[in-house]
Structure formats: C-alpha cells, structure tokens
C-alpha cells in the first residue's frame, strides 16, 4: 500500500488547479489566441561554456538548456514541481522509494525514444563523475530502470528536498545512445548536442549568437516561436540600450536601471512582473577572531543595521527588507518568535558598552572592515553609514570575486562580509549556508544542534515536520546570530508588451507558469 508524500500531493493538487485554469482561460491573457512564428532574441551577459548543462554549474547555459533538454520533473516560477519527462510519481510510506512514470511519447531529436535507462545513465554518471549537482543524489542508494517507462529511486534515507532538487539545476537528462562511453567534458556533444526539448540547436556563433529552432516534431506541446536567439552583450548599459532600440527582445531584469522603472511603468509599453526569489542578501561575521567573536557585538550590529533603509536607499524599495533568519518567501517555515532584532541604535550602543567597549576620543567603540566582492556596493555603503551611527568605524573594501573567494572565504581573512545568491528551490536550500559542512557556509559557522535539526528536516516526510524543524533552527540562529539577512532579492522584470505567454507572467497576465519551467519558452508567442 503506497501513499503520496506531501510533495507529490501538493504537486497533484497544483496540477488539478492548473488543469482547471487551462480549461477556463485558454492559453493567454485577454482571450487572445496564440500566433505561431517569429524570432525572439534574448540577451545574456555571458556565453555558455558548453552544451552539457550537467557537468558544471553554468548560469548562462541554464536558461538555454531548459529549451533544449528535459528533466524528470521541472520547477516553475512559483517554485512548484511540474511534470517534465515524468508524467506522474509516487513515494512509499517510509519515503524510501520514489517511483516515476515517464511519458511514453518522449523522443530525442534524432527520433530515439527517451527511456528510463537514459535517466538512470544520466544520474549514475553525474554521481560517478562528481558532476556539479551530485549532492542531489546524496541519499539515493540505487536507481532502478524497472522497464522503459518506470524509474525507481531506492533511498538510503528520506530526503524531503529530493524532488525539488531533481527539478532544479544540473539534472537534465542526457541521451545514453549518444554519450555512452564518452567523457562528457571532452565530448563533441558539448558543441553538437542531442536533446529532447522543444527547441533544437541550429547554430552557435561563438561570442555573438546561439540560435535554437523550433522542434516541430516535439513530443509535448510544440512551441509557438520559430526561433530563439541568445546573444551576448557583456555590458549592462549597452544591453539596456539594445533592448530599448528593439535590437533584442529580452534582457536580464537586473539590467533595467531601478531609476528608470517608475517612468517606464507609466507608459504602457511593457508588461511588468515582480518576482521575489529565495535569494536574500545577507551579512556575515567572522566568528573565530576579531570583535565579532562575541555574540553581544554581533547582536549590537544586528540592531544597528536598518534593513528597511538598505531596501530603500540601495534598492529604491524594490527589494523588500527581510526580518527572519530564512528568506520570507517560505511562509510556512517562518518562526515569528525568532525574528531578527529590530532596528535600535540606542540599544546597540548599550550592548557594545556591556560587551566592554568604550568610545575612544574620536567617538568610536572599535574599527572594523567590510570586505565584499563587486555588486554589493550600494547595500554596503548603507551598512557602513549605519555602523557609523552606533559608533563603529567601518571601512569598505571591494575586491575581485576571485580574491574574495580565496582570502575572505577560504582563508577567513575578513571581519564582515556580504553574500547573496539563489539558496535553492525549497526552504531546505538555506541549510547550505549555515550547516557545518554546508558548501556555501561562508563564515564556517558550526552548531551541532543546528546540524542535527537540519538532518532531521531533510529526513522529514511531511512539510509540517520540515517547518517545525526549520522553526527550531531559526530559534538557535536568533541566539547565535551567525548572519543577518538584509533584503530579499526581487526582480522587477519588464517585457515588451507584444511578448505573450511568458513563463514569468502570472496567470492573470496570460503567463505559462502553470506549464513551463523557469525559462522555458515553449508557450511564448509574439503579438505583433
């Protein structure tokens, strides 16, 4: 007797909902009928390194890969897991067996069928060769291709984030019949891939454009666009001008200057989406030496930093302040009794005095340094000014990312630093940032209780259990204060008004969130 886990259940519920939506609303906003054809040009700041999205993390390939390859399941812009190659899946009661049923129609571009053997081959290779997202399969004991369309994961321990991680990054299914016996990193596949997705690679002119054409024989919904062109414009200002001049149709939302948003929103030339990501900007302390060894001092800093001011001054209010120790997106996991200290400069100075600091003749308790890599300057300047107000003289040091990684992170040569970045598709992703062996635990924070609770959360069978453990962890983080979350990363995205069915659009805007992955362009069409 098998029962659906919380995850699968929520997915099925979600599917049921979207199925209804589809029946009512058609596939676009304003009851427009989708038009086929057209070329859609997307500018990126850099170029992918290869065409295999599984070997190393490559943020420039990720959006492209979602149109050329398929995953077992895929994440959409609501962080929900959607079917991709798998049409359905279920888990055993003990959450130790997950069974996926593949779409029988799925075909590679060369006409071969996509089978469970391909999936097994892909994941086994990722684990065996230590490819980028090997950690997704940390709790998988064995992958069994039961028949062509049935795939079973035998787990060594329950893993609550397994499904969303499989749906996320570096887990695209590769064709065994093409790659078998080859070294993925040196294969010609990296230039001439064979995928199973809705678009095929037609030409890659290095340094300028990478062109995908519609896969007219696609086994799923066939795309509307004839062609997607990914072009490289490294300079943000140039990319913005190229977009305004209609040389390109889409640029990364981060390249739209915040100062322009208000006036752009006044004219009706754009469709707007506010997308909040589980990517908080946060500040961390050196816990092993210097003034921030003392938790009282950390608390004083936490009280002396005005998160709302950071949001207003550094991000024109577009990135909202975050009051919790985890990103506020995952509402069910938030612990209201363990919020970050609220802004209180007076209290902060009192705490510093309690910690034994006295103001020197210049009016400072102590001096410190905030070491960041490029990109955090605006927020960092606000922090420096805030610290000045509580009598902490803070100098700002901006270094190259490589230097930061080597000196600040690896060698722990910093007092204060800042980090951001996508934490993961579910609330458990944050664990990478504060567990002892977390891969992006920048200040080497280590608390046994946190580690234990996090392991329990990973092994939880239901979302309620995950939430409970995450709340306990927040209570400990509130005592230890290893980091302060500042603002939540929010994209204010603008798209040309003729662009329809975009995966970023909400349902009311006629978007394809319900059917498409993050950057999957299958349902995009141009209304000229």
């Amino acid at each position: 007797m098998k029962k659906l886990t919380a995850f699968a259940l929520s997915c099925f519920m979600f599917l049921a909902l979207t199925a209804c939506g589809g029946n009512n609303g058609g596939n676009s906003g304003g009851n427009k009928t989708a038009k086929d054809g057209g070329t859609y040009i997307i500018a990126q700041q850099g170029e992918p390194a290869s065409m295999n999205p599984d070997t190393v993390s490559d943020d420039y390939l990720y959006p492209i890969a979602q149109n050329m390859f398929n995953r077992l399941v895929k994440l959409n812009n609501n962080y929900e897991v959607l079917p991709d190659l798998a049409t359905s899946w279920e888990s055993s009661d003990d959450a130790l067996t997950h069974t996926f049923h593949l779409n029988e129609k799925a075909k590679w571009w060369d006409g071969e069928a996509v089978t469970s053997e391909d999936v097994k081959y892909t994941f086994d290779t990722i684990v065996e060769k230590n490819y980028a997202n090997k950690s997704v399969f940390a709790n998988v004991k064995e992958i069994e291709a039961k028949d062509d369309l049935t795939l079973i994961f035998h787990m060594s321990a329950p893993d609550a984030s397994f499904l969303s991680n499989v749906a996320w990054y570096g887990t695209f299914i590769m064709p065994q019949h093409v790659l078998d016996g080859q070294d993925w990193q040196k294969s010609d596949f990296n230039q001439n891939p064979v995928g199973s997705g809705p678009f095929k690679l037609s030409k890659w002119n290095k340094g300028t454009d990478l062109r995908l054409v519609k896969n007219a024989e696609y086994w799923g919904d066939v795309a509307h666009l004839d062609e997607i062109v990914y072009t490289v414009i490294p300079d943000a200002n140039t990319a913005y001008q190229a977009w305004l001049n209609n040389e390109v149709d889409e640029i990364p939302s981060a390249l739209i200057p915040t100062s322009e948003i208000a006036s752009m929103q006044e004219n009706g030339d754009y469709n707007w989406v506010n997308q909040e990501w589980p990517s908080p900007y946060y500040m961390t302390f050196n816990l092993n030496e210097g003034p921030f060894k003392d938790v009282k001092v950390r608390k004083a800093i936490a009280m002396g930093v005005d998160r709302n001011e950071v949001s207003e001054k550094a991000f024109s209010g577009y990135k909202p302040a975050n009051d919790y120790f985890i990103t506020k997106i995952f509402t069910s996991s938030l612990n209201d009794n363990a919020k970050q200290p609220s802004y209180d400069p007076e209290g902060a100075m009192k705490l510093l005095e309690e910690a034994g600091y006295k103001k020197n003749k210049d009016g400072y308790y102590f001096e410190t340094k905030l070491t960041i890599f490029e990109g955090f300057e605006d927020a960092a300047n606000v922090l420096v000014a805030d610290l000045e107000k509580i009598g902490v003289k803070c100098t700002l040091s901006v270094v190259d990312y490589n230097v930061w990684q080597e000196n600040a992170w690896k060698n722990q040569e910093f007092e204060l630093t800042m980090v951001a970045g996508f934490q993961g598709p579910d609330v458990l992703g944050a664990g990478r940032r504060w567990t002892t062996d977390g891969v992006i635990n920048v200040n080497f924070y280590s608390n046994e209780k946190v580690d234990t609770l996090y392991k329990e959360a990973l092994a939880a069978a239901t979302q309620e259990e995950v939430d409970a453990k995450m709340k306990d962890i927040q209570a400990i983080l509130a005592e230890d204060l290893p980091l302060i979350l500042l603002v939540n990363y929010t994209d204010v995205c603008a798209y040309k008004s003729n662009v329809q069915g975009h995966p970023m659009y909400t349902d009311e805007q006629g978007g394809s969130r319900a059917k498409a992955g993050f950057n999957e362009m299958t349902y995009v069409w141009l209304d000229n």
Binding site: T39, I41, G46, A49, S50, V56, S57, D58, D59, K129, N130, Y131, A132, N133, K134, S135, Y169, G170, Q185, K186, N190, Q191, N205, K206, G207, T208, D209, V229, T231, V232, I233, P234, D235, N237, T238, A239, Q241, A242, L244, N245, E247, V248, D400, Y401, N402, V403, Q405, E406, N407, G421, F422, V439, I440
Partner: protein, 322 residues
C-alpha cells in the same frame, strides 16, 4: 641586412620565450582557483574540484606545469580550455579576425587623421587653430573608452537611430553575401569610431612634436638659407624625418592593440580576442590566457621586426649604427 635580420629574429624569439614564462607564472600567482570557479558559486562540489585539479594538472607544482606546457607547445598544441571544453587554438582563431577588423581599421584611420592634423597644427603653431586642436586632443586623450563608447551608442543609436548599438551583425537579418558585408560594416562603425577618437590624440601629438622638432634643426635652417622653397623643404625633408617616431609608436602600439580594444569589445559586444582574454582572466582559464599571450607576443615581436625593417629602409642612418 641578413645579419641585422638574424639579430632581430634572435632577440624577438627570446622576448617571446620570456613573455610565455612570465605570463605563465604571473597568472598562477593571482588569487583564484580555476577548478573552484569552474564548479560555480552556488554548488561547490569538493570532489569535483579535486577531480578537475587532477585532470588538468593543477595539482602539480608550477615547475612541472610549465614543463608540460612547453612540451605541448613543442608539439604545436596550445592546449585545451577547461572552462570551455575546446581547443585553445580554435578559440583564438575565431576571435582574432573580429579583433583585427576593428583594431587595424581603427588604428590605421587614427594614424592617418592624427598625423595629418598633427602636421597641420605644427605648421600653424601657436595660432588659435593649433590651440583648439590641442585642447580637443587632450579631451579625448583623457576619456575612458567605455564611457565614450556608451555616449556614442546613446547619440548614434538611441537618439539618431543611425547605427546598431552592439554586436557584429543583425540577428534578425540572416544576410548573406554583399548585404552581410554591409551589415558588418554598419556594426563596425561605432566601435571603430570610438577607437579612432581615442587614438587620434596619440598620433596627433607625436606628429606635431616631431615636425616641430625637425623644423627647429640646423639643417632646415641651412636649407632655408639656400633659398629652397618652404614647400619643398617641408615635403621632402621635414616630413620624412618627422614620420619616423610615428612608425615606432605604431609598432609598439601593435602590442596594445588587442588589450586596448578589449574595453571597446565589451562595450559594443564585439566578439573579439580582448573580450575572450578578459573572460578567461575572470575564469582563470590558464590555457586560454597563455595561448592569447603567446599569440600576442609573437605578433608584437613580428611587428617590431617589420618596424625595424621599415626604419632601415627609410633611414639609412639606423642601418649604419647597427
């Protein structure tokens, strides 16, 4: 002349050899680990980092790595880019063309215009025109290339709509043949204009000062005393002597051409080698960086030899000194 050439070739090869070793060492001394960067910021996987280091020999001593590199070069192999899973040679070749297109065109135009204005200003020394040209030249001389590039984009693309902002060809056009060539020329215009505006002051100043210097020399006074026409003195004696520094600078400038256009390539999304170099430095893609430096140092060495030959042809005094 043969001895002269042999000597130049010898010193050129030595310079190339030193520059290979120097660049090989210096890039490895910079902080940053290619394997860590390759794996990515969000999901560092320690096992994979170790594997990549081993696979590409990054775990060996620098001395051993250098030995292996020379062995590769000996077999005419520039190596394999770990960040791009491609042969370094292929990557450089496809980027060399676009870079030379704008760098050579821009520099040649700048040399011609700069020298012409320089000579003109020198003849009008001290007049209002001379002072005006000098001031404008200082203005452009102190302008950063990315800023000037962006201003030209705003003016010519966004406001006037005359030229595309960036790229090498129209992505919607799919042009072929003559239409493609015209399209590329249109895309070249702004990057070349940026380069020209930034380089004119350079050649302007050299031409102006060397003309002034030659004109103040004794032999010119002697020529004047013979009653030779000013026109003949200028065209036959002043210009020929004054042009030599320009050739020297042009030769040296070959070395900066690729690095000099890299900011322009970034601003205009031009698929050149300067951009590849900056990308590779951020990724610490050692084989590509070394490969580019090798190609650069060889071309600079060849450039200098050519300059020396041109010198020797124009000015026999140089040959005699040898």
């Amino acid at each position: 002349m043969k001895k002269f050439l042999a000597k130049r070739l010898g010193s050129g090869s030595l310079a190339v050899l030193f520059s290979i070793i120097f660049n090989f060492v210096i890039i490895r001394l910079a902080p940053g680990d290619p394997a860590t960067l390759l794996v990515g910021k969000d999901n560092p996987n320690p096992e994979m980092i170790a594997m990549i280091r081993e696979q590409y020999g990054l775990d060996k001593s620098m001395f051993e790595q250098l030995g292996a590199y020379f062995n590769q070069l000996f077999h005419l192999d520039l190596g394999y880019s770990y960040a791009n899973s491609r042969d370094v040679w292929d990557m450089i070749v496809e980027r060399l063309g676009p870079t030379l297109m704008i760098a050579l065109t821009g520099t040649l135009i700048a040399v011609l215009i700069g020298t012409f204005i320089g000579v003109y200003a020198a003849r009008k020394k001290g007049t209002f025109i001379d002072q005006a040209i000098c001031s404008i030249s200082y203005l452009f001389d102190s302008t950063p290339s990315f800023w000037l590039g962006l201003m030209l984009i705003l003016l010519f693309s966004s406001i006037l709509g005359l030229f595309p902002t960036s790229g090498m060809y129209n992505l919607r056009g799919n042009y072929t043949g003559f239409a493609h060539i015209m399209d590329v020329i249109q895309h070249m215009f702004l990057p070349v204009l940026t380069l020209v505006l930034l380089n004119i002051p350079y050649y302007f100043r050299i031409a102006r000062s060397s003309v002034l210097q030659v004109m103040s020399e004794d032999f010119i006074m002697t020529l004047r005393a013979t009653g030779m026409s000013e026109k003949k003195i200028f065209n036959k004696y002043v210009l020929r002597n004054a042009i030599i520094p320009t050739i020297t600078v042009f030769g040296i400038n070959l070395a900066y051409m690729v690095t000099g256009v890299s900011m322009i390539e970034i601003t205009f999304a031009w698929p050149g080698m300067g951009r590849l170099m900056l990308d590779s430095i951020t990724k610490r893609d050692y084989p590509v960086i070394s490969g580019i430096y090798l190609v650069l140092s060889i071309s600079v060495a060849i450039g200098m030899i050519i300059v020396d030959i041109v010198y020797a042809t124009i000015d026999p005094r140089i040959r005699i000194e040898e």
